[in-house]
């Protein structure tokens, strides 16, 4: 099997896996980065979202071989060193999580949004977040937290 070298959260990781292995399972099974969650396996819920060079990707359908040399992956564990990214602080301030399972993916989608559009309007937040499922229905607070974070970036 080929060996893949990945830049994740400013560290180098290597994995000896088949080329079609979705990044999700490389992160979870091989690197112990379990903050990236499995929800559907078909890119329909967003629980598995990470940043690839600042853009959101769905790792459950993103083969590890698609990642090019030099591309930087950021997972929820690496969004900030001390858990103090404006989105992480806003998520706590607004008290978003219920069960909490989807929230890592929600935060990563929001991070990609704020990377490209630091002051999004309501409709832009909804457009960006609409593809992410929160089964507990915490959507109101997710929206509020993204807005709050955007005022602090």
């Amino acid at each position: 099997m080929p060996v893949f070298t990945l830049q994740i959260n400013k560290k180098e990781y290597t994995a000896d896996v088949s080329a079609d292995t979705p990044l999700l399972w490389v992160l979870r099974d091989h690197f112990g980065l379990v903050g990236t969650k499995f929800g559907c396996g078909i890119a329909a819920c967003g629980a598995c979202t990470v940043l690839l060079d600042g853009d959101a990707i769905r790792t459950c359908v993103y083969a590890v071989s698609r990642i090019k040399s030099g591309q930087k992956i950021t997972t929820i564990e690496g969004l900030s060193e001390k858990g103090d990214h404006p989105l992480q602080l806003a998520w706590d301030e607004v008290d978003v999580p219920q069960c909490g399972y989807c929230q890592g993916g929600q935060i990563m989608v929001a991070a990609a949004l704020l990377n490209s559009n630091p002051k999004p309007g309501d409709a832009e937040i909804e457009d960006a977040m609409h593809e992410n499922i929160c089964r507990c229905g915490a959507y109101h607070r997710i929206k509020e937290a993204v807005k709050l974070a955007s005022t602090k970036i």
Partner: protein
């Protein structure tokens, strides 16, 4: 995590080291009577003390409580410490909660479900906190040689106001442990609450937003293998033959084993297992009825006419009431099967060793799971440990423990520690659904528009009693007949958030609106007049609280400005479930021909609100869930096979579809009565009633987007 076993000396030392010594108060979390907590010391621990939880105060001031209930998003890990800290006058952030592993000897209600965690813990936790406070004051008074009555407490310290002396709880803990525990320590007056009722953030937020591995699926153990199971794709089929040769030779695959109707693929990584699973060739054959959704429609029609219904409640003389009626209103309502769809799919870790079994994962019912594993593997329960992780949602699905038993059985066959994971497709196709159901309501009105007769027939699939026969409007109608018939199907069903009431609430509250319209009464006035009748001239037993229901109705009318908003179509609904009362008003505004759900008001009486922020989450989440399910939720079948398999085919509500939600609580000082479920049952009816007012179309079948007249207009995004 730790297990609190039958009070051995070893256990005591374990607890002491875990909690840092000091004061240790044992109490019975779920026993029926409010017992006096007692101090546990190394000396008296030799005896056979009976307790199932403890509150400890360590010499460094750390306060610990030992909680039996699984956490699945209802936020008890935050609200339990708030309750203790309130009575103790402690800094609640210094109160740690230890999630207890399973111990059925100690916990007689170690499950999460039925909106019961807070109601069952309320008095126990308060009494434990108040008792600890009493002992700490007594210890300080002794040390200072002053009367206890001159001492007070604040923020984790005992204070002697006259001399200005202060001591922290940690410094007093060891002395407090030597003082006799009194009975009947008074609890605080609720007007003095400073923590209970505040909006307090979830203690797990930090772990959640930084991606800590706190869920069942995040559990990894050195040397464990990964497994998935191919189950029959259709209800009513079984395995005929399996060819797993190709799968077995694939990279990373350790074994492919068959047991019961399962083919388990076991490998070294999740992805290798997923790939090999596709290479297993399985033939299935018929093993029961292969039912389709059309068959169910036919079955429902027959059961509505059946003479074999079980009578659930009968008051007065229904036949005569309908014979003498000035007007009769009849309507039928139907709801489909729906899966629970917790975002974390079913999974469990199991290691069956010669000397015992280790189980780790997300479950709402650890006790039943262990019992079933014990029975299946013929291993005594005391050799089986169950460690409970945080649950990535439950909604009732994890009350069933099928996936726990599967993991244990597989581990016993392959003799390896294994983590079993269900895919989303496995989860959605794997059963335990909310049952499909149909209702027929009939109401008899006299010439003045007074409801004199009421009939309800509930027919469900694998749903014993599709009614809640003692709920409103029972007691308010002199002649009433409620009965039900069940169809037994191979499609498996189970409890789904607010069982029965999640669809009955929609049907009943839609029907009451139709009756109000026929009686030419305002929907709220009509409901209030029924309640008044139940109060002044009750028919049969009344098992709901008329005052509490009336209060939420009136408050919802007031908060929503009922009937005062031109251009806004308001729909009303109220429901009593899990001992709480919730009234809702849905507001719909027409955008051309499209009815748009703009806002939902929810007024809840769940008794005392412990955590305002958590309570708001429960209400808003339940309204969103109730709306999403009513609007979009449907699992249909062709010859026993579910037609929706993942979130591309099964529609869950998403951000753009949610209306504004304004939630209020009744501040009446009643002990807490549950909130995980009660805000869901009224939502479907409030929406249907508002849409009727806006469009004239009566929605009688969920999901609403399938309505033949206006379904297409409700599709949204």
């Amino acid at each position: 995590m730790s297990t609190l076993n039958k009070t051995s000396r070893r256990d005591f030392l374990k607890i002491s080291s875990l909690t840092g010594g000091g004061l240790l108060l044992g109490f019975s979390w779920f026993s029926a009577q409010a017992e006096t907590p007692f101090s546990i010391t190394e000396a008296n621990f030799a005896g056979d003390l009976s307790f199932n939880s403890y509150l400890s105060i360590a010499t460094d001031g750390t306060i610990t409580i030992f909680s039996p209930n699984p956490e699945l998003g209802q936020n008890i890990m935050t609200s339990f410490p708030m309750i203790v800290a309130e009575e103790l006058d402690a800094d609640w952030t210094k109160v740690k909660v230890i999630q207890a592993a399973l111990d059925t000897k100690k916990f007689d209600r170690q499950l999460t479900g039925g909106s019961g965690a807070i109601p069952h813990s309320w008095k126990k936790l308060r009494t434990a906190g108040a008792t600890a406070r009493y002992l700490l004051i007594a210890a300080a008074a002794q040390r200072w040689s002053v009367p206890s009555a001159e001492c007070t407490t604040a923020n984790g310290m005992v204070i002697h106001t006259l001399s200005g002396k202060k001591l922290g709880y940690g410094a007093l803990a060891e002395d407090a442990a030597k003082i006799a525990v009194p009975a009947n320590v008074p609890l605080k007056n609720r007007k003095d609450f400073t923590i209970i009722g505040t909006a307090t953030k979830n203690v797990a937020n930090k772990d959640i937003v930084t991606g800590k591995g706190i869920f069942g699926l995040d559990f990894y153990r050195e040397g464990m293998v990964f497994a998935m199971i191919q189950r029959p794709p259709a209800f009513g089929t079984k395995i005929k033959s399996v060819d797993s040769a190709a799968a077995k030779s694939m990279p990373g695959i350790i074994d492919v084993v068959n047991f019961k109707n399962n083919v388990a693929i076991v490998g070294k990584s999740t992805w290798e297992v997923m790939k090999a699973r596709k290479a297993v060739k399985i033939e299935y054959e018929k093993d029961g009825n292969l039912e389709s959704t059309e068959n169910h429609d036919q079955i429902f029609a027959e059961l509505l006419k059946s003479d074999k219904a079980i009578i659930r409640r009968k008051d007065g003389d229904v036949e005569t009431a309908f014979k003498n009626a000035a007007k009769i209103v009849t309507q039928e309502y139907q709801c489909p099967f729906v899966p629970h769809n917790p975002l974390e799919p079913m999974n469990f870790f199991a290691h069956v060793r010669p000397d015992g079994v280790e189980l780790v994962g997300p479950t709402q019912t650890p006790g039943s799971a262990r019992q079933a594993v014990s029975k299946l593997l013929n291993i005594p329960e005391d050799k089986i440990t169950v460690e409970i992780t945080r649950l990535g949602g439950g909604f009732g699905r994890r009350l069933k423990y099928d996936y726990v038993v599967e993991a244990a059985e597989l581990s016993s066959i392959i003799k390896l520690p294994v983590k079993l994971m269900w895919s989303r497709e496995d989860d959605m196709m794997g059963g335990s659904y909310r049952p499909a159901v149909k209702y027929r309501f009939e109401a008899a009105l006299d010439a003045d528009g007074v409801m004199t007769g009421y009939k309800l027939r509930g027919v469900g699939i694998n749903l014993g009693n599709a009614t809640r026969e003692h709920n409103f409007p029972a007691g308010a109608v002199p002649n009433l007949l409620i009965d039900s018939v069940e169809h037994i199907s191979p499609i498996t069903t189970g409890a789904w958030r607010a069982p029965v009431t999640n669809f009955l609430g929609f049907a009943e509250q839609s029907f009451i609106d139709e009756v109000a319209l026929a009686a030419a009464k305002d929907p709220i006035e009509f409901r209030l007049s029924l309640l008044n009748k139940a109060r002044t001239n009750p028919a049969g037993a009344i098992k709901y609280n008329i005052d509490r229901m009336e209060t939420v109705i009136k408050q919802a009318a007031e908060k929503s400005g009922w009937g005062t908003k031109p251009g806004v179509s308001q729909g009303f609904s109220v429901y009593f479930s899990h001992a709480s009362y919730v009234a809702q008003v849905c507001e719909v505004v027409m955008n051309g021909k499209v009815p748009v759900i703009k806002k939902i008001y929810a007024v809840s009486d769940c008794g005392e609100v412990v955590n305002k922020s958590g309570a708001l989450q429960q209400v808003m989440g339940a309204v969103v869930d109730g709306m999403g399910t009513a609007m979009y939720g449907k699992l249909s079948f062709t010859e026993g096979k579910p037609e929706q398999k993942n979130f591309d085919e099964y529609r869950l509500i998403r951000m753009k579809e949610i209306p504004a939600i304004e939630a209020h609580f009744i501040n009446n000082g009643i002990d807490p009565t549950g909130l995980g479920e009660p805000a869901l049952p009224p939502t479907g009816g409030a929406i249907a009633n508002a849409i009727f007012k806006a469009t004239g179309t009566r929605l009688t079948r969920q999901p609403f987007i399938d309505d033949p007249v206006i379904g297409k207009l409700l599709q949204g995004y």
